[in-house]
């Protein structure tokens, strides 16, 4: 009701797969996309790893205070390609969810991610980051140990890191907690993933003064892959099986793998100094508008 003036914020992206649809289903709304991005059966980091490299070599700890299980970091082989992989880890069972703090990392997680990414720089390996978090953990310890500083440092350090960086927003790209591992040379985003400065619920509770206006806020925030591509924030939309990645996880996981491998192959051709220059130019251009 609030956004009657702009009925256009649906799904601007061309859907490559579903063109000759025989039956006309109602066009999915942004809120539908939010539900798919958060679907309990949607592939998680643990599923991608299990499929790509069951022997993935996880590495632990920030060498300062802790090892944050909400952030995965390790050495992973994807389709014969050796990469350093970091990503938010959500759980599927209740025990896992609690252990991984629902995928909300502490500062220790961001610092661990950076420490392991430095190995990629040293040993000339590409970096792949999988982004899937509702946000950085809002906790007493997280603040005491410098959540803000940990994220800020990653933004600064990743901007000059001498390694190709492929970022994949697989599920929820929640605010600074997502961005803390999402500065890179190629930003991929799954078709039904979301990426936003604030959750629709949070935005609604502030600007609509009631969280139940989340669907309206989601529309207004333009947090879908189609909009983000238009806005120049992401480079590529990775198509999902019809209805969402949870309908055919194996196929979705394979499509993501191929998209990553293609991006790595392209980035490896560029000298690393030039990559860093291009990375700066890419982020510098974001939010620069012609008058």
């Amino acid at each position: 009701m609030a956004t009657t003036k702009k009925p256009t914020a649906k799904k601007p992206a061309a859907k490559p797969a579903a063109k000759p649809a025989p039956k006309k289903a109602p066009a999915p709304t942004t809120w539908d996309t939010v539900q798919i991005a958060r679907h309990p059966d949607r592939p998680l980091l643990i599923d991608y790893l299990a499929a790509w490299d069951p022997q993935a070599n996880e590495l632990h700890g920030d060498r300062l205070v802790a090892d944050d299980p909400a952030m995965f970091a390790g050495l992973v082989t994807i389709g014969g390609e050796r990469v350093v992989l970091v990503g938010h880890r959500k759980g599927r069972t209740t025990e896992e969810k609690i252990a991984y703090r629902f995928g909300m990392a502490n500062p220790d997680g961001y610092r661990k991610a950076m420490r392991i990414m430095r190995l990629a720089e040293k040993f000339r390996l590409p970096i792949v980051t999988l982004v899937d978090t509702s946000g950085a953990f809002p906790g007493l310890d997280a603040e005491a140990r410098g959540q803000a500083e940990a994220i800020a440092k990653n933004l600064a350090d990743m901007s000059v890191l001498k390694a190709p960086i492929v970022v994949v927003v697989t599920g929820e790209g929640g605010s600074g907690g997502a961005l803390g591992i999402a500065v890179g040379d190629r930003i991929l985003m799954l078709e039904h993933a979301i990426y936003s400065v604030i959750s629709p619920e949070g935005c609604a509770s502030i600007l609509w003064r009631d969280g139940k206006f989340a669907p309206q806020a989601a529309e207004a925030l333009k947090l879908t892959s189609g909009w983000l591509k238009k806005l120049g924030i992401i480079d590529e939309i990775v198509p999902e099986p019809k209805g969402g990645a949870h309908k055919d996880p194996a196929k979705a996981i394979e499509t993501v793998k191929q998209a990553i491998l293609k991006a790595i192959r392209e980035l490896k051709k560029v000298p690393v100094e030039k990559l860093v220059e291009q990375r700066y130019a890419k982020f510098a251009a974001m939010g620069r508008f012609a008058k």
Partner: protein, 278 residues
Amino acid sequence: MAWFTKAQEAPLRVPTEALWNVCKKCGAYTPKDEYAANLKVCPACGAHGRLSARERIALLADKGSFKEIAAEVIAHDPLAFHDAKDAYAQKVAATREKTGIGESIVVGTAKLDGIPVVLGAMDFRFMGGSLGSGTGERILQAAETARRLKRPLILCTASGGARMQEGIVSLMQMAKTCAAIQRLRDEGLLYVSVMTDPTTGGVSASYAMVGDLNIAEPKTLIGFAGRRVIETTIKQKLPPEFQTSEYLLEHGFLDKIVARKDLKAFLAKTIRFLTAAK
């Protein structure tokens, strides 16, 4: 009773607020001119009131030395955002009108006690000092100017965080500003972050925290997540000193807390020491 007290109160209220500053922290009354002369610091409790961007620049820049850059960069509305009541474009236009500045930060070249610097000051009155695309671009231009002129960069923050109405574009300003500042620092130039009340959310998690020196004014609110969000998440009450500059100093995230009256002298002394500027 009510009619009696109301009749008494009405004529008194107007001159009270016009002539006195009432401290938000301790409630002490200070005559307005005395408060201004004390740099908007409460003489009773030492609480540092908020300065506008222009007031902050006047505090730090030598008289007449500030030359604004990137003034033509103003807030944009990349999402054509509209909430329950307002269109963002109208809100931001009204804010520009009211504050007389084009974005939530004013940046420029200046002299600080004779030292050539690039200086930026955020203004909380401009949409809560939020980080819009125009803010990010102004900071990037300030950092690039500092790099070109080989000058120290000083940014004074006052912000509630990212600007929701610019959505993902606002979020990306965190990466953009940090990238610009990292390039400056990689060339051996000095970046000083001066955090003033408040410095929270996306601004605390970007350019505010990556200073070669992280400085804050006393009793400043600095933190990433909101107090209420944390209390709801962990289901416990937070200590009163939580997320103050004193708390951050104790936990190792600030180099120093500097009172407003000492800020300019502190910056001049430290910049001279580090860069051997004359």
